[in-house]
């Protein structure tokens, strides 16, 4: 089929108007074609098989900004939105206060619209803020080295397990049974063709086999409980394996950092540190390890150096680990550092600072513990899991979680995360500084009503 009809001149959209994102005019195009020495645009694309050239598309015609923004605002408004609703949902993503500084810096096009800093002289802003990010993560976790960021928490966790296999030259990964199954699922997808065996070990780490590459655990775990990081790390080391802790960064404003217990690799979802929930992404994975393991670290790393005049500057470094150089022998195929989300984290940590990070952690702790103790008093509800926790805890309900959450939603409350596959009729409730006492009290009376109505 030869294309004949009505293809609009480039740069024009329906109605004959030039598109605001394409500046070329008809005169510009004519001049460029003449300079190239062709009479029509089609001369430039003769390599495309003629019968397949210029397919008809079914996508709608161009929508102007005025009507499009109204249409998409209406689409967004169809969602049940935390903020309009009280939200007690966590389990991997958390609703926190984001100070105005984060949004303000994220308006800087110089950060937003830059590429990966391959020309360091023209990217010192990206590089120095990335170095701040690495520093903040090391300080928060008390670790020696952090990379510039991974895709998200679960992929960071999977990469950590693969790194442990490379370092120990073993191929068995032990994951504590209290970890979220979604972490294991992502590792399974990452390791599907690498002859890696994934085993689940009991919560106390007992009978840990001695041929494992790592003991990997989540702390706080799927049930909100803080694991015995010291003991698990000891068990890993006794087996000649590495200890991998997947943590919640907010918790470490209050709780001991994993580095204190000798953990070898720390991963975390970075979203709680100033990143909007955005239905699950874009987030940033945090990844920290020991200096001695740095050559097996996946992802981008920013390092400090000097210029020819002796001034301090920053560059991407240790690049020989990466895919663009080592190709099929790279430590990972990752090419991003999710830099912009890392910038949000860097501005968030800078803004909260020492006191703010403590305050947020403390508010989460106080409110979650208040909520837990009050819910435990409601007839029919119980807290099935024992142990120190931070801002999440498991609640067993008198009715199914689906029913309970449906009833809560009618009261403009988004209930907890369903973990009934682990403990029957049980949800994981998360309380952060965003939940006022009023919201918590409303939740408790709602649970009382719902439980009593059976």
């Amino acid at each position: 089929m030869v294309h004949t009809v009505d293809r609009p001149a480039g740069g024009r959209i329906a109605g004959g108007n030039p598109h605001p994102y394409i500046p070329a005019t008809d005169a510009d195009r004519a001049a460029m074609l003449a300079a190239i020495g062709v009479s029509s645009f089609e001369d430039l694309v003769q390599d495309i098989p003629e019968h397949l050239r210029f397919p008809e598309l079914t996508i709608a015609e161009s929508a102007p900004e005025l009507s499009l923004s109204a249409e998409l605002a209406a689409m967004a408004a169809r969602n049940v939105t935390p903020g309009d609703y009280a939200c007690f949902l966590g389990a991997g993503a958390y609703r926190h206060f984001i100070p105005s500084t984060v949004g303000a810096i994220l308006q800087r096009g110089e950060f937003v619209t830059a590429y990966t800093p391959y020309q360091p002289e023209a990217a010192q802003g990206t590089l120095q803020t990335g170095f701040e990010f690495q520093s903040a993560i090391c300080q928060l976790f008390d670790m020696e080295v952090a990379n510039a960021g991974m895709y998200d928490g679960p992929t960071a966790f999977a990469e950590a397990a693969l790194m442990a296999c490379r370092l120990t030259r073993r191929n068995k990964v032990a994951i504590l049974e209290t970890a979220d199954d979604r972490l294991t699922a992502v590792l399974r997808a990452y390791s599907a063709h690498q002859q890696i065996e994934i085993i689940s070990i009991p919560a106390d780490g007992a009978n840990t086999p001695d041929d494992i590459a790592c003991v990997a655990f989540q702390s706080p775990n799927l049930f909100g409980v803080i694991e015995d990081v010291a003991s698990l790390t000891e068990k890993a080391h006794a087996a000649g394996a590495l200890s991998i802790a997947h943590v919640n960064p907010t918790a470490h404003g209050l709780f001991q950092p994993p580095g204190k217990y000798g953990v070898d690799i720390v991963t975390a979802e970075g979203q709680p540190l100033g990143v909007p929930l955005s239905f699950g992404g874009a987030y940033v994975g945090l990844f920290a390890c020991r200096q001695e393991h740095i050559r097996q670290l996946p992802g981008r790393i920013i390092g400090r150096t000097t210029d020819t005049q002796g001034r301090t500057g920053y560059v991407l470094t240790l690049q020989t680990r990466e895919q663009h150089i080592r190709r099929e022998r790279a430590t990972s195929n990752i090419c991003t550092s999710t830099q912009l989300i890392g910038l949000m984290v860097a501005v968030y940590v800078a803004t909260l600072g020492k006191q703010g990070m403590r305050d947020v952690a403390n508010l989460c702790y106080q409110k979650a513990h208040y909520a837990a103790s009050e819910i435990a008093k409601v007839p029919g509800y119980s807290l099935p899991v024992v142990g120190a926790f931070f801002h999440e805890f498991a609640v067993t309900c008198p009715r199914s979680v689906a029913e309970t959450n449906a009833a809560l939603l009618k009261r403009k409350i988004i209930g907890g995360y369903d973990i009934s596959d682990r403990i029957p009729d049980t949800m994981l409730i998360c309380v952060t500084e965003m939940n006022s006492r009023g919201e918590i009290d409303t939740l408790i009376s709602a649970l009382r009503e719902i439980g009593g109505a059976q």
Binding site: R295, Q319, T320, I325, R326
Partner: protein
Amino acid sequence: MNPEDLKYSKEHEWARVDGKTVTIGITQFAAEQLGDVVYVDLPAAGASIAQFAKFGEIESVKTVSDLFTPVGGKIVEVNGAIKDNPEKVNEDTYGEGWLLKIEITDAAQLDGLMDAAGYESHTAG
């Protein structure tokens, strides 16, 4: 520029023979091709290695290359100073930039290597 008293391999390693002990490193040509060397990954002393086998990796800022030994035998010494000062490979390629000392199993292996003139015509190609 390549010392006359050394032997050379096609993979751009040099060998200095001293009785049964052979000191090896990479050639000036290889060092220049790599650029600034930033890291050298070397095996532990004590291991045995076959002639022309891979024994490590050498990295510059933006390249990584495998290292192949020009002679086989037992690794009797590894240049530990290279770990902290990899730039020695560029600065003193045939001296402090050495990488391994190998106790050669069979001196006949040396016959398979080039002399300086042979290596120069190899790299000129």
